[in-house]
Subunit: 417 residues, 2 copies
């Protein structure tokens, strides 16, 4: 069975407090530069006091935004000095002019930070197809650099929000070789969330000391157990970026791939990513429920995974979640449809389904009014789990998803206006 | 290029009139039997005056409803006398009791029609997981049989409606060997529509003379060019059934597989199915727009098809359609995400996109304010086409879909109550 992180019962649209959102060796700042129409802060800078070790994961979308193309290239050396992020425009589908605008921003940030422009990692988020107005960004950069401070990271987390209802930060502290090590994550994202890095920017900052290769070894499984199991609407954006930066200020010996200390760091990074991923789904546009879909008893993991996503992406299931309706037949049917489409085995008589602890479907049949009443009560909760056991094997997987209610339609029907 | 049926500009929630909804050799009747809470007619019988030749296609869902299992078995002989359909319950996920309830209904209908019960094809539609109360059906059957008449087919079409906003019928007349041949189709379905036969019941009745094998040869391509290109919400139901029945009363020589007359019959059946499929999508729950997504320039048909469905199933694209927002970046991104997920080629610089005639994206870049204004005007229409040219090859495909607005959420959030 998969090791399941706790779901908790916190209200959905509220970030847990982070008492001390600082990490030795990191500075942050944010400012409005005029990209957003509403005048809110739309430019964020996170910088190392010195050069940082860095690893990253990017969208699998074949229409990668200009900043994704540039950041991927800049990361090749595994060293970075800063992350420069704007909201108010994705700078995707903007061709060569978009690339050049992005590069001019990196140039200017590099000049002001006295570092190689290749050590600046750019990120953008917002509407696809809008060319970045880099003059606005460059005009704001001197003030932003002047305002960098160890306390500035929450402001940076705020400036990358788009349709986010709340600022997303998560924190863990671990011990590595007797030294306390801090891991602070910040993220944005609410719609367009799905595995393979959806419109989601997430930055994880640590004062651990680790080589870029060691950071990469930590980051991939952390993403696999967090962001790559979060789905709001099945879309994978052009701009998704997950970055892990390490300042080395904790003072322990530098970790290399395979070092035992990496396990502690990896666990903390994974937990921070899981916290952030749950916040992304909880903030799913218009979501009023956070649902973990656990499929077990599948012939193999890949099949459990596909069934998880079939349910997590089914508008019929998601509207039933919104309506708090224990419509177990739809869940069974969605799994049956997926099996039919893929030519996979599926035997209704072996299927069991729980909504929370309510055994709503037993051997493919209705679990009775008592189970239904219990399931209906579970579905009123902020957070709950649906467990589908196919009774065919040992494969299991889980994903986090949200319900589909009116607010999703409100937000997305004319997002651009 | 695919041969595209006309989209028309008719209001969405209104069936075209069928002047004479009769077919020689066919009788119909409908009645309320108490399965629906609202007292509406919920039982429909369509019967041949004599034995009929029959072919059918059924859901690919691996949780097939009891009536699907029974009808599939009954159809094995290629002969049928009647279709017995109820709304007010799908009789799916009901196990052995569901099968037996279904069989008792066929028994009773066979007794009253003086035919083998295996010549009765059962269909059900409604909520999954509710066992059919066959006593209600059997009690209503004598009256239903007594009420059979050549004019009763529209009443039968009305009785199979669930969330349908209007009754769906379509008609064509063709000539085969100098004889006029009538083809009348009726269907139900609004939500849960997607290829592989979604919750959709469709019956096509003709007075052509054809063997069951010839009918099968006609039906599969007709479905492939109609129902299997219609998607409202990506779900494939447990109960989908498409039946083609022929009375032979037109008086021409019986058509066998490969006979030239089959082309005429096939064209008429395809057109009737296309009309019905467009009505299903137009009646998509809460839909205010019928959109044909045409993808061309793909390396192969399979890739064009996958891109069509990626767009047709994307909540982000569908809410933009509802908001009449020419958000071309989302369309491009959805295609790029699909290509990324599948590892397929995708070159933004070769991509062109039209919304109606508006060339909103040229070579992967914004087509300018004039094209955008034109696209915005197109998106106010009831029906329009989106054309995505990938610029990579000769593969093309199209599907019909609808937008995703508030009414969809209203209908599906608590469909069962």
């Amino acid at each position: 069975m998969d090791n399941l992180p706790p779901l908790g019962d916190a209200p959905l649209k509220q970030a847990p407090a982070v008492d001390d959102p600082t990490v030795p060796g990191f500075l942050g700042a944010a400012a409005p530069c005029g990209l957003r129409k509403d005048g809110r802060a739309d430019l964020a800078l996170i910088a190392g006091e010195r050069e940082l070790a860095a690893a990253g994961l990017f969208t699998s979308n074949k229409l990668p935004a200009a900043p994704v193309q540039v950041a991927r290239r800049h990361l090749a050396q595994g060293r970075a000095r800063a992350i420069l992020t704007n909201s108010g425009g994705a700078n995707a589908a903007t061709g060569q002019p978009g690339l050049e605008a992005c590069q001019r921003c990196c140039q200017e940030a590099g000049r002001l930070l006295a570092c190689d422009p290749h050590q600046v990692l750019p990120c953008s988020t917002g509407v696809i197809g809008q060319l970045l107005d880099d003059a606005k960004v460059r005009a704001a950069l001197p003030g932003l650099v002047a305002g960098l401070s160890p306390q500035g990271i929450p402001a940076a987390a705020g400036a990358i929000m788009t349709t986010d209802a709340f600022r997303k930060m998560a924190f863990r502290q671990v011990e590595i070789a007797g030294r306390p090590v801090r891991v602070l994550g910040l993220a944005k994202g609410a719609g367009m969330i799905r595995p393979d890095m959806a419109t989601m920017l997430a930055f994880v900052l640590t004062d651990a000391a680790a080589t870029p290769a060691a950071l990469g070894q930590v980051l991939a499984p952390a993403a696999g157990h967090s962001f790559n199991r979060a789905s709001v609407d099945g879309d994978t954006s052009t701009n998704d970026t997950l970055l892990l930066l390490a300042s080395g200020r904790a003072g322990h010996a530098e970790l290399n791939p395979g070092d035992s200390g990496l396990a502690e760091l990896g666990a903390a990074v994974t937990q921070v990513c899981q916290d952030l991923a749950a916040m992304l789904v909880a903030d799913g546009e218009g979501a009023s429920h956070l649902i973990r879909v656990l499929v077990r008893g599948a012939p193999e993991t890949a099949q459990a995974r596909a069934h998880c996503y079939a349910i997590a992406h089914s508008p019929l299931c998601k509207t039933a979640f919104a309506g708090q309706d224990p419509n177990w037949g739809r869940l069974l049917s969605t799994a049956g449809a997926e099996a039919g489409r893929r030519g996979w085995p599926y035997d209704p008589a072996r299927v069991n389904l729980w909504i929370g602890p309510a055994h709503i479907c037993q051997g493919g049949l209705y679990g009775g009014p008592e189970a239904e009443a219990q399931a209906a009560a579970v579905m009123k909760q902020n957070r709950y789990q649906i467990t589908l056991d196919l009774g065919l094997g040992q494969g299991s997987f889980w994903v986090l998803t949200s319900d589909l209610g009116h607010e999703y339609v409100n937000i997305n029907a004319d997002y651009r206006s």
